[in-house]
Every structure is written in C-alpha cells, then in structure tokens.
Amino acid sequence: MPFAIRVEGLSLKKGYKLLISDLNFEVGPGECVALTGANGVGKTTLLRALAGFAPPHAGSIRIGDDNSDDSIVASNSHYLGHAESLSPSRRVDQELSFQCEYLGGTAGSLAEAVGKLRLNSLLDLEVRMLSAGQKRRLSLARLLMVERPVWLLDEPMSPLDTEHRALLAGMMQAHLSDGGLIVCAVHDPLPFETRELRLTRAEVGEVVYG
C-alpha cells in the first residue's frame, strides 16, 4: 500500500508552551524528511506527535486520504527516540526476541537483523554493559526485524561510529527505495538526498492554556 503522511495546520505544545504552530507538510513514499533546527525547537515533540504518543494541540496528522486517527500511524511506524527502550538488566538476545515477538517479527527476520547489524558478539551480554553506540545498534535491529512503512528517527546517527553511520545510511536508503518513508531529526546532514524541514523558533515562550 502506498503510504503517505499529511500534516495540516499542526500545533504542538510541550507543557503549557506552544512549540510548533500551524505546521504543514507531506511525506510521500520513498521520501525522507530531515528535521533540523536548534535544540529545544520541538523536533522530538513533532516526532512523538507523528508516532501518536501525544495528541496535537490543533491540526491533524493523517495517513493518505483517510480520515484516520493517530494510533494508526503508531502501528505503522517505528519510533526510535533518545531513550533506547531497553531494560538494562536483560540480556541482548532476550531483548531482541521480546521486541521481535511483541512487534510481530519472525525468527528469520530476527536472525537477519542480527547478522546485518553485527550483533552476534553482543547477544549474551546484559544491556547495561553495552556502550551507547552498541545500544543504538540494538535498537536499530527492530527497523529490520519488523517491516513497517514509517520510520520516525530521533538523531539516529549520534552515538554511532563512522562505519555504522554508513551502515545505517544504507539501511535508510534501502527502506526508501522499498517505498518506505522516513522522518528523521538530524543535526548533521544525511549522506543521501533528503528534504529538509527546518523548524524555527517563532513562538518560543508563548504560553497557551487549555
């Protein structure tokens, strides 16, 4: 199914502060939108709203032409945030197989993801023993384990080394050429063609009640 996200007149609040107001954009299949902007401008807030974690203050987020609600975006998307969604006391293989079962992947897709991200040597370690980059690679595994059209990534490159940045860029390009779509918060430009959506700090500090 060709998948597109359409955002119309979107306003988002963080607490009582209006971070984003009247934002309009569209992401179509095979397209990558790079969210840029200063710290605290609302990149993460926008990604979380796209994932359906927080209801918009105003405006709408739709998929295709349907008048669908936010939760449908959530079940069609992978969200990778700053927190890695990993329990420190569990082993890597336990976490991977839980994520795979929970999100609806198969044992084959799990093995493939482990191979691609070179997680083999980490499987019997506890998550808390991993470095930040290793944890991120572990989180990336679910992008490959379970196929979903929308990837919402929050600074996915930051803890990775050069080699794995290239690997992730390759993964993202493959996803796009399969007709997937990506919304990705970044500070450094991605090594392939993207459409930039620069968030600006127009209404910083404006307080909205209700």
Binding site: A83, S85, S87
Partner: protein
Amino acid sequence: MIPAALALLKRDLSLAFARGGGPVLAAGFYITLMAMVPLSLGPDAQTLSRIAPGLTWLCLALASLLSLERLFERDYEDGVFDLLRTGPLALEAVALLKCLAQWLGTGLILSLMTPVVMIILGAPVDAAGLSLIAALIGSLSFALIGGVGASLTLGSRKGGVLIALLVLPFYVPPVIFGAGLMDAYVTGAPIAQALGLLGAYGLFALALSPIAMGAALRSALN
C-alpha cells in the same frame, strides 16, 4: 495480538524474578511481619487465633504494596513505553498485562503463603482452602488497584509513599471482606456473602482499572 501479549507477560515475569527482586522481597517482608505478631502481642494462643485472619489480611495488603513503585517506573525511565506503544496492544492492555505479571510474581506467592501463615497463628487447618481462594482474589484486586496508584504517580519522585496513600483506602474493602470471610467460617456463619463481595470487588477492579491505568499512563507519557 495474543503472541504480543504473551511476549510482554513473559518479559515482565522474567524481569520480576531477575536478581531475586520483588517476589522474594515481598515474601520475606510478609513472613517477617507475621513473625513479629506473636512477639508484639504475646504468645497467647487464644488471642492469636482470634486475630489471625484480620492480621493476615492486613499484612497481605501491606506486602502487596511493596513492588508497586517499580511496576511502571522502570519501563518509563528506560523509554520502553515508546516501544510498547508502537506495538499491537493498547496501553490499557499493556497496563493490565503488567499488573497480571505483578500478581503472578508477587500476589500469587503471597497467596500461597497465606494459609500457612494463618494456620501458624492458630487459624483452623480446615480453613486453608478457603483462605487460599480468598487470598488469590484479594491479591489480584490489590495488584490491579495498586496498578492504578502506580500509574497515577508515574514520573513523580517519592512515588512509593504516594502510591501507598492513594491505594490503601481502596484496599479496605477486600481486607474487610477477606477477614470477615475467615471470621464467618470460624464462627460457623454463612460465608457466601463475604466471598461474593470479595469476588465482586475483584471483578470491579478487573473491569475498571485498565481504563484508569490507560488514561493515567497516556497523560504521564505525553
């Protein structure tokens, strides 16, 4: 949906049992508390057997409080809810499964100990079966109502004490019905009424707590 639910239940159970966490602590707390009863009230067998049911239920309620603080807090801090929310289960179902895992890891073990503890304190041996059933229903209500308290205090520091304050008033009915049930049994009065009310409270908690937890989690996670 079912595989996802089973995967989550399995994960939460293994987390509960990892490093001898919640279950062992709660069981130890329960036993220690019950062991202190004869020490503080004196070893008079008649007194002890009269108050055994009431005290057991009180201690069961207190022991059920112990690991509630970590019920949602751990996954909240680790960002696991971001992952859980992109899965096939609604937050209500996620919360209910977590409470169920909490009950299997803590309440179930406390319930299995309840008849033993009660008999040690002097309750009649033939009441063991009934006290087990009552404790199973009661501890399930404790876990569900406790889950509501845990979800409401999510993200606040000092959550533990706050949970106790929020939740203990709602632990009163099962304590009354559960202890009353045992008293009725011992005195030979009909038990159907107390058992029925205890079961009704359990079903009430089962029906309403997922909705409350879902709403509280959604607001905490925004």
